[in-house]
C-alpha cells in the first residue's frame, strides 16, 4: 500500500475530492496546514507594525491506496489541483506497512 500526500491550495479541495471519488477512491484525511515553496507570503500591517508572513494556508490531503492504484490517484489529484500559478503544491508518495479497518478487522488491501 502507498500513502499519497498532497499539499494543495485550499480552494481546490472540492475538485480534488471529486476527482478521487470518480476514480473509485473512497476515503481521505484532510488537514489545514501552512507552508510555502516558491510562492511568496504576504505582509500584514497593524497600526504601522509590519509583519512578513511567509507561511500560507494550504490543505493537506492524505489517501492510502493499494500500490497498483498509486499512479491513478496521483494523476487525478494533479489534474484537479493544478491552476498553473505558483503555489499549486506538491504530492509525495510513501510506503504504508500495514492497514486495519477498525470496524471489521480487515487488513491491508481489503482495508484500503
Amino acid at each position: 500500500m502507498k500513502l499519497v500526500t498532497a499539499i494543495i491550495k485550499p480552494f481546490k479541495l472540492d475538485d480534488v475530492r471529486n476527482a478521487l471519488t470518480e476514480q473509485g477512491f473512497q476515503g481521505m484525511t484532510v488537514s489545514e496546514v501552512k507552508g510555502y515553496g516558491r510562492q511568496k507570503g504576504h505582509t500584514e500591517i497593524y497600526r504601522g507594525a509590519e509583519y512578513a508572513v511567509n507561511f500560507l494556508p494550504k490543505i493537506k490531503v492524505e489517501v492510502v491506496v493499494s500500490a497498483s492504484d498509486a499512479e491513478k490517484a496521483i494523476s487525478a489529484i494533479t489534474a484537479a489541483a493544478q491552476t498553473g500559478q505558483i503555489g499549486d503544491g506538491k504530492i509525495f508518495l510513501s510506503n504504508i506497512e500495514h492497514t486495519v479497518r477498525i470496524r471489521t478487522g480487515e487488513t491491508d488491501d481489503a482495508a484500503v
Binding site: Y46, R47, G48, Y51
Partner: protein, 433 residues
Amino acid sequence: MKILTRFLKPAAAIGLALISTDAAMAADAPKLSAGDTAWMLTSTALVLMMTIPGVALFYGGMVRKKNVLATMMQSFAITCIGTIVWMVIGYSLSFGDGGGLNAYVGGLDKMFLSHFGKDTLNGTIPESVFITFQMTFAIITAALIMGAVADRMKFSAMIAFIVAWLIIVYAPVTHWVWGGGFLSGAGVLDFAGGTVVHINAGIAGLVACLMIGPRKGYGRENMAPANLVLSVTGASLLWVGWFGFNAGSAVAANGSAGMAMLVTQVATAVAALAWLVTEWIVLGKPSVLGIISGAVAGLVAITPASGYVDPMGALWIGIAAGVVCFIFAVGVKKIFGYDDSLDAFGIHGIGGMVGALLTGVFAVKSIGGTSGLLEGNAGQVIIQLEGIAATVVWSAVASFAILLVVKLLFGLRVEESVEVEGLDINLHGEVVQ
C-alpha cells in the same frame, strides 16, 4: 367611556396634588426629575458596557491568542475591584468635602457610601445613580491603562496598582475637575473626562510601559492581533456606550445631552475616516484596525468638548484626533521605540490632550456657557493647558511612585517563560481552545 371616567378622578387628584406641591416648594431646591433619572440610569449601564465587554473585547482581540483571556480578565477584574474601591473611599475622595484641602482632594465624609438615603438627591437625580455613574468612569479609566502593558503584567501587581491608583491618582484628579477642586475653580472645561479619564490613563500607561519594558521580541516577532473581529465588536460597543459617557455627563435629559450625543457622533465618524485616509495615504491600505482606532481617538478627543462645542467644532476635533493620534500611535512610537502595546498613550493620552486643548478653541458660549478662542476668548486655551499640565504631572509622578512600590512588593512583570508561553495558561490556568 366608563374606563376614562374611572381613571379621570384619581388622575385629576394626583395632578392637583403635584401642582400644589410644586407651588409649595422653594424655587431653588431641585427635585427628582424622572426624565433625568431614567437617562442617567441608562447612561450608567452604557458606560459599564464600555468596559465589559467594550474594552475587554477591544483590547482582547488585539493581543496574541495566548493572552486573550488574561487581557479580558483585566477589564473584568478591574470592574469588580474598582467597584469596591469606589464604594469604600474612591467616591468620597472624588466628590466629598475635603475641608481645608478641598482644592486638591475630597474628604472621608462619604466613605463606605453610608452618607445618604434611598431618596437623597444629587441635583435632579438620586445620589445612588450619580455614585454608580461616576463609578463606571473610574472603572473604565483603570481598565484603559492596561492597554499599555499588554502581554506582560503580573495579575497580582495589576490588582495592587489599580487599587492604589484609583485612590491616589484618579480620585484627586476627579475632584480637581468635577468635585469642586482647583481646576474647576480655574475654569477648566472638561465635560466628560478628557483629563480625568483619558489623559490620566494615557500618561499612567506611558509611565507603566516604560517601567515594565517592551514585550520580549518587540519589533522582531510577529505580534499580530489574534482576532480583530473581537476588536471591532469592542470598538462598536465603545462607540454606542460612549453616548452614555458624553451625553450622560450632562446629568440630565436635556438639550445639553442631545447636543453632546450629536457632536460625539460627528467627531467619532470624522476621526475614524481621518485616520483611515491618513493610513491609506501613508501605509497604502485602509485597515480595519485603523478605522476602529480612529473612531476611538475621536471618541476620546470629543469627550472633554462634548458639552461645549457645536457640530462644526466636533468635525475639526475629529480630524485633528484622527490624524494626530495616528501620527503618535504609528509614527512617534516607532521612532522612540516604547512599547505602548495597545496605544493607551497614543490614543487616550494624546487624544485626550488634543480634545482638551481644542475645547478651549471651539467652545461655544450658547452651548456650554463658555466661549473659546474662536469666539474671542483666547484665555480659555491657556486655562485648558493648565488642566492638561496638572493632570499630566500628577498622573506621571504619582503613577511612577505607585508602580515603584508595587514593583518592590510584587514585581511588575511576569517571568520570561510565562511571557513566552502565554499569560492565559500561566496566570489563569485556562486557554482559548
